[in-house]
Amino acid sequence: MTDALAPVEEALAESAARRGRGGSTLRYVAGKLGGALASLFLVVVLGFLLFRVIPGDPVLSMTRGRPVTADQQAELRARLGVDRPLLQQFLDYLGRLARGDLGTSYVYSRPVGELIAERLGPTLLLVGTSTIIAVILGLWLGIKGAWRRGSRFDRVSTGVSLTLWSMPTFWLGLLLMIATGNLFPSGGIRYPDTPPDFLSQALDTAHHMVLPCLTFVAVIYAQYLLVMRSSLLEEMNADYLTTARAKGLRDDLVRRRHAVPNALLPTVTLVFLHLGLVVSGAITVETVFSWPGLGLLTYEALQGPDLPLLQGIFIVLTGSVVAMNVIADLLYRVLDPRVRAA
């Protein structure tokens, strides 16, 4: 990752020389933030309408197969508020949201915010770790592959990554679980009998995380590899590289200082787009390895449909994507002088 630092240092040095243009920076930042806020508001409205389109009566789904009387069902509808007019429900929802209350889950009878917070940690841990590993691995292999394009290393690494990318996650996960025998747990985030002290808990969680992490990395690292590889390939024959070589720079310096920074932009876009989606977790991996994360919660909420929970998740997910996009936009200015000039 030191590769990425060079242009940042440059940019910092340059920005000191350009104080006079602070007004436009402010305008740029304000514009991006304003756009983000507008998107968030749309998300809030859409989050409500979208899930009302799902057909079906949550109460019927919840009580299906249980001895309940029609009175009990009516009572439950009244308690959940699903018997009210749509407009009334929407106003209730906006009012609650303004007070920072995401509502109460139909199924779990608990505040939605609490449920999401509970699942956010495991998801960030698993998907965050996996994404970081996948980005590092993908960039590294991508750069190496492009630099020696057509070599055996390039062909093998691209081939392997594409094969893994096209594997069904569910199948790969189960296969790893079976192949590793007793080495790793079959699921969950910790054993019930692990002592409560931090060290044992952390070790146990790390132990539980190996297989899901491995599965996730194996399936996703190809996209970073491919984008990095192809954008570096585009730079390969550029004149400035010949100039750099002519100046007598070592080959890896040419790559690190000149080629990679220019090729990095598409990858940064991709990384940030994906960081936003980190929160949504990885439904399949979480299901295979019983990881108590947000992806699984989303899937469960859809079964109900547990409307308040779905709305809450939707807002948190889209909110994080919007936030990451803003960060990416701001980072472009630092990374690429062309954006600043425009």
């Binding site: 057909p55 308690r79 699921g187 969950g188 070790l203 108590p292």
Partner: protein, 581 residues
């Protein structure tokens, strides 16, 4: 690293015997008044004793009430509460706790969410003394010894202000059942300790743990690796894979779930207003009977269920013994497409030019078949039914939809045929009520819990009779008659009674009491016998095994991380040096 692992091993040794059970359904809440998922009500049975429970033959047997009697008019029930029974915090269990629980459900709508049906016809619940509960009902109620209502301690619950949002997760949760809930990690695990004060005596092991597995394949792996000791809800292929393991006992049990094919007999509201768009020809009982004759239940059992089911006849599965109805020899409806064809010809539905039959109103007999998308049973059964009905000149258009869409379409009566599934209960009243006129929707099209939209005076008369009959033998006879009526009128074709597929490690635990005793289930019983009776097998080494696994695992993690990091650095250095030349 070493001290942590050593601690882990030590804790497993010191923890005593633990039965670990894999569960695949989430827990909605620990609050027994609002818990409606099967996994949560099962937990409720372990934490709280009922007034009466069911023995291993599914007959009512004493719980908190050691005996009970009823008045001549069956409107007053007097229960004698067991002396000496204690809550897990040491307080005595008295009649007051029972009165508190039932009154709460009668006066607080939220508290009636899960089990309100049992108290719907209650007049009053009182305690003349510490050990007597008197329940007066408005009409005779047959479920008075089948009330699956967890009795809660008044000294804990009296101070709960909002039942609807009370999580009941302050551990240890004060209870009266064979186990006390001591730790709850949502979506990870649940720990219960054997209740030392339990009135039947403590269970033969120390701790019961439920561990979540979000898919049954992982649960099977966990069973084979020894991470858990007991698993249920298995698919046939998973069940088969357990058969070769010498340490695992597969249990193919009679189950409470059944699958049926509903035939819309003319959906209508309670006051007789037709609703929905069901095919009019299906109002003709002869058409429904012909469809029933064209369906090969044996093939469903063997091909769709892989043999892990029983062919179905009456509405009540075989596991409920005398409530189950079987047609007398010679009266059963045999799979006979030729006879079905002849019946339809005779009934005035001749085949048209394209081979599809046409009704007297000129409308072709092309039916929609509604099923759940993603449910293998529905998908496969739909294809079979389509083929069988095309053999008798009835066209079938399969519609597989999401669960939500399914419920909406079905309650609106917008279907012709429908693959549906239900679970049955020890008392047959509820499942029988699903086919009475009164359970059809209100005039506004809402409410009601009807399953088939069936409305038949004879069936309703039998239903009324059985709900006022307290002699088990006589009631069972009425219940069987009702099933016969359903069978003859054919608003539905019973397809199969699913087997419940479970597996346990016999090198860890044994002695599980099943319900029904001979060929029943260990988990998901109408009581707690399976968990309560489990007996640890002496000299187990599985605990040591799993901690060895952990040590190996941690070592592997560290090695992989170090090796990976080392390799990364080495490659980078190597390549730089390489290119420098």
């Amino acid at each position: 690293m070493a001290p942590g692992v050593a601690l882990q091993a030590a804790a497993q040794q010191a923890g005593g015997t633990t039965l670990r059970v894999a569960i695949t359904q989430q827990i909605d809440t620990l609050n027994p008044f609002i818990a409606i998922f099967q996994s949560s009500t099962e937990l409720g049975r372990l934490m709280y004793e009922f007034l009466t429970t069911f023995d291993t033959h599914n007959q009512p047997t004493p719980g908190l009430a050691e005996k009970w009697e009823t008045s001549a008019d069956k409107l007053t029930w007097t229960y004698t509460i067991r002396q000496g029974a204690k809550w897990s915090d040491g307080q005595p269990i008295t009649a007051k706790d029972v009165v508190f629980t039932y009154n709460l459900m009668m006066t607080n709508a939220d508290a009636a969410t899960a089990n309100g049906n049992f108290v719907a016809n209650f007049e009053s619940v009182t305690a003349p003394d510490e050990h007597t509960v008197v329940i007066k009902t408005k009409v005779p109620v047959t479920t008075m010894t089948a009330m699956e209502v967890p009795i809660v301690p008044e000294h804990v619950w009296a101070s709960v202000s909002d039942i609807a949002t009370y999580a009941n997760d302050t551990t240890p949760v004060v209870g009266s059942g064979p186990f006390v809930l001591t730790e709850y990690k949502a979506n990870e695990y649940i720990k219960l300790k054997a209740n030392k004060d339990y009135w039947r005596g403590p269970a033969k092991y120390d701790e019961l743990q439920f561990v979540y597995y979000k898919n049954a394949d992982a649960a099977v792996q966990a069973l084979q690796k020894g991470e858990v000791d007991l698993v249920n809800r298995l698919a046939p292929a998973q069940f088969d894979s357990l058969k070769n393991d010498p340490n695992i006992v597969p249990n193919q049990a009679k189950g409470r779930r059944f699958n049926e094919l509903l035939i819309n007999p003319g959906a209508a509201t309670k006051d007789g207003q037709p609703i929905g768009d069901g095919h009019p020809a299906l109002k003709d009982v002869r058409v429904r009977q012909a469809i029933a004759k064209a369906i090969d239940v044996t093939t469903i059992v063997n091909k769709v269920m892989g043999g892990y089911a029983e062919p179905a006849t009456g509405l009540i599965p075989t596991m409920w013994g005398d409530y189950h109805w079987q047609p007398a020899a010679g009266q059963e409806r045999k799979f006979d497409p030729a006879a079905a064809n002849a019946d339809l010809d005779a009934a005035g539905y001749p085949k048209g030019a394209d081979g599809t039959r046409v009704g007297p109103d000129g409308r072709a007999l092309t039916l929609r078949l509604l099923g759940h998308s993603g449910r293998a049973f529905d998908e496969q059964t739909a294809e079979y039914v389509k083929r069988w009905l095309s053999d008798i000149g009835i066209g079938v258009e399969v519609q597989l939809v999401s669960d939500n869409q399914f419920n909406e379409t079905s309650t609106a009566g917008n279907f012709d045929l429908q693959v549906s599934t239900w679970g049955s209960n020890p008392d047959p009243d509820y499942i029988l009520s699903l086919h009475t006129c009164a359970q059809r929707p209100n005039p506004d099209g809402k409410g009601g819990t009807t399953d088939s939209f069936f409305c038949d005076a004879e069936y309703d008369a039998l239903y009324a009779q059985q709900s006022a009959e307290f002699d088990r033998t006589k009631r069972a006879e009425l219940v069987r008659k009702m099933q016969q009526r359903l069978y003859e009128q054919a608003p539905l074709v019973m397809l199969d009674y699913d087997n419940a597929l479970e597996g346990y490690r016999k090198d860890r635990f044994d002695g599980f009491q099943k319900q029904p005793a001979q060929d029943g289930v260990i988990m998901a019983q109408s009581s707690y016998w399976g968990y309560y009776s489990a007996t640890p097998v002496a000299a187990t080494s599985a605990g040591a095994g799993s901690s060895t696994g952990l040590v190996i695992g941690v070592v592997v993690v560290v090695v992989v991380v170090l090796a990976g990091g080392g390799l990364l650095v080495a490659r980078r250095r190597g390549s730089t040096a390489d290119e420098r030349e």
